[in-house]
C-alpha cells in the first residue's frame, strides 16, 4: 500500500482551514449519539477531544492507564502556551506564529497544518480562560505574556511554572462534566494493548484492566489515539515513567505508518544526572532562559571552582557569543548542542559521572540585581524551589546547573490534514502524531498543538469521516477482536513464562544508554549501524532472559512495564533506521557528517520529505514511503539565529 493522499488544501493558506471546514460533511445533532468513538489517552489532546466530542453528543469512551485522567503527562508542562493574540502590540500575528513554527521546525513540517495550528491558537486561550484556567495577569486584570525560545515576540501565556497542569485541569474538568452527563464513559487504569482493524477500518481496541488484569475489547466507529510521545526509549528522559510507545507501536504493527521517528527533541535545560540509580530527569522550564544567562568557565581548570568565585572575564557566555541576536533564547536544538559541545570540550561543570562533568551554568545573578529577588521569584519561584529540593542548592545564591535531556518527540504516526492515519477511522492527535512541528518543536507549542487537535480540529474532521460510514455493524464478538485478544493474552503469558534472570528495568536501561549514546543529540553513520546490530541482540536476550514475577490476573506493575519495554525494543530499531537514512541534519536530528561550522546542514534536494514507514514484521526491513514537502509561503532558507 502506498501513502494515501494527505488531503492538503490548495486554497490560499489564510482561507484553507475555513474553506475546508465548510466543505466537510457534518453529522446532525440527533444522529451523533448513534456513533461511538474511542479516545485513548486523556492528556491535552485526548482529554480535549473526548470532552468536546461528548459535548457534541457522540457516544465517547475514553481510556487512560493512569488512575485518573488528570494525571496524563501534559500536566508536567511548565512554561506556557503560544497564541498569536498580539496583546503586546509587538508585531505578532497568525502569520508570524506560522512562520516562526515552520522555520523553527527546520522546514520539515507541512505549511497548511502549521497555519491551522497558528490560527487555532487564539481560540485555545479564549476557551481555557472560560474554563477558569488561572493564567498570569497584569494589574489591570488582562492577560500577561512572556517570551520564549525561537521567537522575537512575546506571545506565550502562562500560569506560573505550571501551565500544563492548569490547561490539563481545564480539559479534565470539561471531561468530567461530560462523564457526569453520560456522554463520555471513562476507563481509567486501562491500557490499550492492540488496535483492531476490520475490513481495513479501525474498529476498536483491546485493553488490559490494570486492576484486575482482565483483557477486554471495545468496538467503535472510530478510534482516536492521543497517547503521547516516545522519549522514554532513552530510559532517562523528562517524560513521566509511564509514558510509552505501546499504543502507537501496536497500531503501527496493525498497518499504521510511523512518520519521522528520528525527530526527537532534546531539551536544553534539565537538572543534570546525579548518579547511576537515576530514574528520570527533571526539566526546568525553558522560560528560565528569559532571565538566566548560560555560561561555562573559559578555562577547564575552573570547572571545579565555586562559580561565584569565577571572574566575569573568565566566563564564556557561549550562547550570547555565538548567537548575538537570540542569545540565551536560541532554539532548543541549538542550545542543547552548544551545551554538549561545551562539556565535550572539557568545560562542563558539576559532579563528574564516568569522568565527564555534564552541566552548564544558568545564572540568575544579573536578573536578581536588575529586577529584585521578589520579581524573579514571582516568575520562577516554584521552579527554583523544585531545583533546590532536588539538588540541595539555592539558585538565588548559586547558579543552576543544567544539561540537555530527551523531552519531546516530533515524530509519530503519519496522519493526513484531517489527522487520520493511513488506516481509515484511526485518528492520531497531539504528540502521538507527527504533523505540526517538523524536525524541531518550538517552546510552548506542544500544549498549543495538543489542544488545537483536541478542541478545534478533530470535532470537524472526525464528523466528516463518520458522516460517510454507517454506525455500528461490528461488535467485539467479531473474529478480529477475538484474535487480537488471543495475541495479547499470549504475549503476557510469554512474559510471565520466561522466568529468566534479568529485570525489565535492566533491559530498559541498557536500551536507553545505547540510544542516548548513538541516536541522541548527535548521530553518525557508524554509530547508527552499530546500534542497528545491537538492538536485536538486546531484544533476543529480553525474550529469553526476562524475569516477570506474579501473575496476569492481578495488579502487576512489572508486567505492564514488560509490555512497554518490549515495544520500545522494536520501535528503537525503526527510529535508528530512520536516523540512518536521513543523511542530513535538520532540527533535532543532527548527523555529525552533515554540518557547516558546527551548524546543522539540511539537504533540501534529497530530504525535503516526510518519511513514513510501513511495518513488515519484527526484524524485517520496513518499507519507506516519502511524502514530499512543498513550501509556497515560507522560503526554505538556512536557519540562522545569529
Amino acid at each position: 500500500m502506498s501513502l494515501p493522499d494527505s488531503r492538503l488544501p490548495t486554497d490560499p493558506i489564510e482561507k484553507a482551514w475555513t474553506n475546508r471546514k465548510f466543505s466537510m460533511k457534518l453529522v446532525a445533532p440527533a444522529n451523533r449519539r448513534k456513533y461511538s468513538v474511542i479516545v485513548v489517552g486523556s492528556g491535552l489532546a485526548g482529554g480535549a477531544a473526548a470532552a468536546t466530542l461528548g459535548e457534541l453528543g457522540y457516544n465517547v469512551a475514553c481510556f487512560c492507564f493512569q488512575d485518573s485522567p488528570r494525571r496524563a503527562h501534559s500536566i508536567a508542562a511548565q512554561g506556557g502556551i503560544n497564541a498569536a493574540k498580539n496583546y503586546q502590540n509587538d508585531g505578532d500575528s497568525i502569520y508570524r506564529l506560522f512562520y516562526d513554527t515552520v522555520k523553527g521546525g527546520d522546514f520539515r513540517a507541512r505549511e497548511a497544518n502549521v497555519y491551522r495550528l497558528a490560527e487555532s491558537s487564539v481560540n485555545i486561550i479564549d476557551q481555557a480562560v472560560a474554563q477558569g484556567v488561572p493564567f498570569a495577569r497584569e494589574y489591570g486584570g488582562l492577560l500577561a505574556n512572556r517570551s520564549f525560545g525561537g521567537a522575537q515576540v512575546s506571545r506565550t501565556f502562562y500560569a506560573r511554572g505550571q501551565t500544563g497542569q492548569q490547561l490539563l485541569l481545564g480539559a479534565y474538568s470539561a471531561l468530567e462534566r461530560q462523564i457526569a452527563r453520560g456522554t463520555v464513559k471513562m476507563y481509567p487504569r486501562t491500557e490499550m494493548l492492540d488496535l483492531v482493524v476490520v475490513d481495513g477500518k479501525a474498529r476498536g481496541i483491546v485493553v488490559r484492566e490494570l486492576d484486575s488484569g482482565a483483557i477486554r475489547s471495545y468496538a467503535a466507529d472510530a478510534v482516536c489515539l492521543a497517547t503521547g510521545g516516545y522519549s522514554n526509549v532513552f530510559f532517562l528522559s523528562t517524560n513521566a515513567k509511564g509514558c510509552n510507545v505501546t499504543a502507537t507501536w501496536r497500531a503501527h504493527k496493525r498497518g499504521a505508518y510511523f512518520a519521522n521517528p528520528c525527530y526527537t527533541q532534546i531539551h536544553p535545560t534539565c537538572i543534570p544526572q546525579s548518579g547511576s540509580y537515576q530514574s528520570k530527569l527533571t526539566l526546568m522550564s525553558e522560560s528560565l532562559r528569559n532571565d538566566g544567562r548560560v555560561w561555562v568557565p573559559k578555562d577547564p581548570k575552573d570547572c571545579g571552582t565555586d562559580p561565584r568565585q569565577i571572574a566575569e572575564g573568565q566566563r564564556d557566555y557561549y550562547l550570547e557569543r555565538k548567537y548575538p541576536s537570540f542569545g540565551n533564547l536560541s532554539p532548543r536544538d541549538i542550545a542543547s548542542r552548544a551545551a554538549k559541545e561545551a562539556c565535550d570540550s572539557g568545560r562542563g561543570v558539576g559532579p563528574a559521572i564516568e569522568g565527564v562533568r555534564r552541566g552548564v551554568y544558568l545564572d540568575f545573578a544579573d536578573s536578581v540585581k536588575r529586577l529584585g529577588k521578589k520579581a524573579v521569584s514571582e516568575r520562577y519561584g516554584n521552579l527554583f524551589e523544585m531545583y533546590q529540593r532536588i539538588t540541595g542548592e539555592d539558585p538565588y545564591e548559586v547558579p543552576m546547573r543544567m544539561y540537555p535531556a530527551p523531552h519531546y518527540t516530533m515524530g509519530g504516526l503519519w496522519v493526513d490534514y484531517h489527522l487520520q492515519s493511513n488506516i481509515p477511522g484511526l485518528f492520531v492527535l497531539g504528540e502521538a502524531n507527527f504533523s505540526d512541528h517538523g524536525a524541531n518543536r518550538l517552546g510552548a507549542s506542544a500544549l498549543m498543538q495538543g489542544l488545537a487537535d483536541g478542541y478545534f480540529v478533530i470535532p470537524y474532521t472526525l464528523a466528516d469521516y463518520l458522516a460517510g460510514v454507517k454506525p455500528g455493524g461490528v461488535d467485539t464478538t467479531h473474529a478480529a477482536f477475538k484474535d487480537a485478544e488471543g495475541e495479547v493474552k499470549a504475549k503476557n503469558d510469554t512474559f510471565l513464562g520466561i522466568k529468566g534472570r534479568r529485570t525489565v528495568d535492566s533491559f530498559h536501561r541498557e536500551l536507553g544508554n545505547l540510544m542516548w549514546d548513538n541516536v541522541g543529540m548527535a548521530r553518525n553513520d557508524a554509530g547508527l549501524r552499530r546500534t542497528l546490530q545491537r538492538i536485536p541482540e538486546i531484544r533476543d536476550e529480553f525474550w529469553s532472559n526476562l524475569n516477570v514475577l506474579g501473575s496476569g490476573g492481578e495488579l502487576n506493575q512489572t508486567l505492564e512495564k514488560a509490555g512497554r519495554v518490549a515495544d520500545f525494543l522494536e520501535f528503537a530499531e525503526l527510529m535508528t533506521q530512520d536516523a540512518l537514512v536521513r543523511e542530513e541534519s535538520c532540527g533535532g536530528h543532527f548527523r555529525e557528517e552533515y554540518q557547516e561550522e558546527g551548524e546543522a546542514k539540511r539537504d533540501d534536494a534529497r530530504f525535503s520529505h516526510v518519511s513514513a514507514w510501513q511495518f513488515n514484521g519484527v526484524g524485517a526491513e520496513p518499507t519507506l514511503h516519502k511524502e514530499p514537502l512543498e513550501f509556497k509561503y515560507v522560503k526554505q532558507v538556512t536557519r540562522s539565529y545569529k
Binding site: R71, A76, Q131, S173, S279, N547, L549, T558
Partner: protein, 259 residues
C-alpha cells in the same frame, strides 16, 4: 547510609496486609525516595520476590500519582514535598521507616501502597467545572480578572489531587481537596454563575463517598505538598451555607471576586 524499611504489603483489595521489614544497606543521599524503592524492587526481583507496588508517574511532584505515609506523615518529613521529590538527604543513617498506604474508607487499598482514589474524580464530576462548551468562549481579554483574584485562584488550583489531605485528617475528610477546586473556580468571574450550586453539589458528593467531616484540625494543609490553605475550606463553608440556607443563588451573589 543504612536504613530499615517496614513496608505495608497487601496482595489485593480483599486480602489482609501486614508490614514486612527490609534492610537497605547502601542508600545514597542524592537518591529520591522512589529511586530507593526502585533499588529495593530490583533486589527483590533478583531474589525471586514480588516487588513493592507503589503509584508514581511524573516523578517531579506535579501529576499527583505518588504518595504514601512515612512514619505517620503523608509524603514524609519534608514540608511541601511529594514523596517523589523527597530526597534521602532528609533522613539519617540508621533510621527505621514505616511505609503505609493512605488510610481512608473512601480510598480502598488495591495493593501494597496503591489506593483507589476514584472518589476524587466523582467529586469533580459533581460540579468541579465551569459549564462552557468548546467554541462558546468569549474573547479572552473581554473579562478582566483582578490580579489578586487570579493569584488566589491559582493558589487553590495548584492542588494535585494526591490525597495526602485525606490521609492526614483524623476524620479522613476531603474538605481541603474539595474546597481547593470550589475556591479556584469560585474566585474567578467565570465561575460565579454556578458558584453556590457547585459548592453544594461537591459537598454532597464528598459526603456520599464516605469521607469524614472537617473539624478544623488543619492537618490537611500541613501535609499538603502544594501548601493549599485552609482558607479555602472557610470559603467553601460560606458558599455551602449560603446555598443550603437560602436554597438557590440570589441576586447579588455573582459579584466579582467571591467570598
Amino acid at each position: 547510609m543504612r536504613l530499615t524499611l517496614n513496608i505495608w504489603r497487601q496482595k489485593s483489595r480483599d486480602s489482609t496486609g501486614s508490614f514486612e521489614k527490609y534492610d537497605m544497606p547502601e542508600v545514597s543521599e542524592h537518591m529520591s525516595f522512589l529511586e530507593m524503592l526502585d533499588v529495593l524492587n530490583e533486589r527483590l526481583q533478583a531474589d525471586g520476590k514480588e516487588p513493592v507496588s507503589f503509584e508514581h508517574d511524573c516523578r517531579e511532584g506535579i501529576c499527583g500519582s505518588c504518595g504514601f505515609v512515612i512514619n505517620g506523615r503523608p509524603h514524609g518529613p519534608m514540608p511541601r514535598t511529594t514523596v517523589c521529590q523527597l530526597h534521602m538527604r532528609s533522613f539519617k543513617d540508621g533510621e527505621e521507616l514505616w511505609l503505609e498506604p493512605w488510610r481512608a474508607k473512601a480510598f480502598p487499598i488495591m495493593r501494597d501502597l496503591v489506593v483507589d482514589r476514584l472518589a476524587f474524580d466523582r467529586i469533580i464530576q459533581a460540579g468541579g467545572y465551569i459549564s462552557t462548551n468548546t467554541g462558546s468562549a468569549p474573547e479572552a481579554n473581554s473579562v478582566p480578572v483582578r490580579k489578586d483574584s487570579a493569584d488566589k485562584a491559582f493558589d487553590a488550583a495548584a492542588c494535585i489531587g494526591c490525597g495526602a489531605c485525606v490521609a492526614a485528617c483524623p476524620n479522613a475528610s476531603a474538605m481541603l481537596f474539595t474546597s481547593a477546586k470550589a475556591s479556584h473556580l469560585g474566585l474567578l468571574p467565570q465561575g460565579q454563575p454556578e458558584r453556590l450550586e457547585r459548592a453544594e453539589k461537591m459537598v454532597v458528593q464528598m459526603d456520599s463517598e464516605g469521607f469524614g467531616h472537617c473539624t478544623n484540625h488543619s492537618d490537611c494543609s500541613a501535609a499538603c505538598p502544594k501548601g493549599i490553605s485552609v482558607e479555602n475550606i472557610a470559603r467553601l463553608n460560606g458558599d455551602y451555607l449560603r446555598a443550603t440556607v437560602f436554597g438557590s443563588p440570589r441576586a447579588g451573589d455573582d459579584a466579582e471576586g467571591g467570598g
